[in-house]
């Protein structure tokens, strides 16, 4: 068994407006010269440390957990899971 650092990234779905992302882009980035930025989506990251047999199992545990415990609401959010390190 080994320790793994996993990131659970929760973002709003593209068809749900993200006023926080829009404001960060419009009132901060573009206003301060970063006009090459054309899209910003805000979200939430849960950094989870867990013990698993291997990276594959670590990812499977995370997916099971996010779906079972509705860590994201699939109606409004999308979810990405990254296993970072062993």
């Amino acid at each position: 068994m080994a320790d793994f650092k996993c990131e659970i990234i929760i973002e709003g779905k593209k068809n749900a407006r993200d006023p926080e992302g829009e404001t960060i882009m419009r009132d901060l980035m573009i206003k301060h010269g970063y006009d090459m930025v054309h899209s910003v989506r805000s979200g939430k990251i849960l950094r989870v440390n867990l013990t698993a047999k291997d990276a594959k199992e670590a990812e499977a545990i995370c997916w099971k957990m996010v779906n079972e415990l509705r860590i994201y609401n699939p109606v409004a959010h999308s979810c990405t899971i990254k296993v970072l390190t062993e």
């Binding site: 749900a16 926080e20 509705r70 609401n73 109606v75 409004a76």
Partner: protein
């Protein structure tokens, strides 16, 4: 009527709700801490989930409360026809429990919004609008930061086709305009019910509008919400 208000860690509108139902409506009301719901919930005529900020709204408003053991029992009873009502955070808990479809996400204004709004009753088939007529205008206040109702296109069509939209935010002329929508809710939705009409959630607070002294217009439209529930109960008997 004998009802229960379930008080969670972070509920803040529970006592207002108890006051409205006990003092104004004259109902028998038990306010019970969520871990102490030891007596059978099916002894009650209805279950209420009050407003507040359960578990600090962490992760997403209502989601942690939705996983408490008492909510598993509420879910079972709701599916058997028990009337279940969620106000504000209670609505968020009902959505996160999947007793009601969709999601409640951050207001598009990025601000907590606390003000009076106009609601148009869209159906009288829900347990909380039995005495309403489609088109009635209710003045009821909101107080929330995560009240933007969202559902995908297919889900919205189903809500419309099944007559599950109970209230919409409208202007003084009963029109659901962008300006009258306080949080960016899709299709100006303020409250919905399940297919059977026994589970109803809304973001505005009828308990804060249940007597005329509370309203700038001396209205008591919140009372219609409770009177409707009383009527629904009578019909069920």
């Amino acid at each position: 009527m004998k009802v229960i208000v379930i008080q969670f860690s972070g509920s803040t509108c529970d006592r207002d709700l108890v006051y409205a139902m006990r003092e104004i409506m004259g109902w028998e009301v038990d306010l019970v801490w969520y871990k102490e719901v030891t007596h059978k919930l099916d002894n009650y005529d209805a279950i209420f989930l009050p407003g507040g900020f359960t578990y600090g709204d962490y992760l997403r408003a209502g989601v942690i409360a939705a996983y408490t053991p008492v909510m598993q029992e509420v879910k079972t009873l709701a599916k058997e026809g028990m009337p279940v009502f969620g106000i504000c955070n209670g609505f968020q808990i009902l959505v996160e429990s999947q007793l009601l479809p969709g999601a409640l996400i951050g207001n598009d204004t990025l601000r907590f919004s606390c003000k009076w709004v106009n609601l148009r009753v869209e159906t009288s088939r829900s347990a909380a609008t039995k005495l309403g007529v489609k088109g009635d205008l209710w003045r009821i206040p909101i107080a929330h930061g995560e009240g933007r109702y969202f559902i995908d296109e297919k889900g919205l069509k189903e809500l419309i086709d099944n007559d599950q939209i109970v209230w919409r935010y409208v202007n003084e002329h009963s029109e659901p305009t962008k300006e009258s929508n306080p949080n960016g809710s899709i299709d100006n939705i303020a409250g919905i019910c399940n297919l059977e009409g026994n589970v109803v959630g809304l973001m505005p607070h009828p308990e804060r509008a249940a007597e005329s002294i509370l309203s700038p217009w001396e209205t008591d439209h919140g009372r219609l919400y409770f009177k409707s529930i009383e009527n629904f109960h009578r019909e069920m008997m």
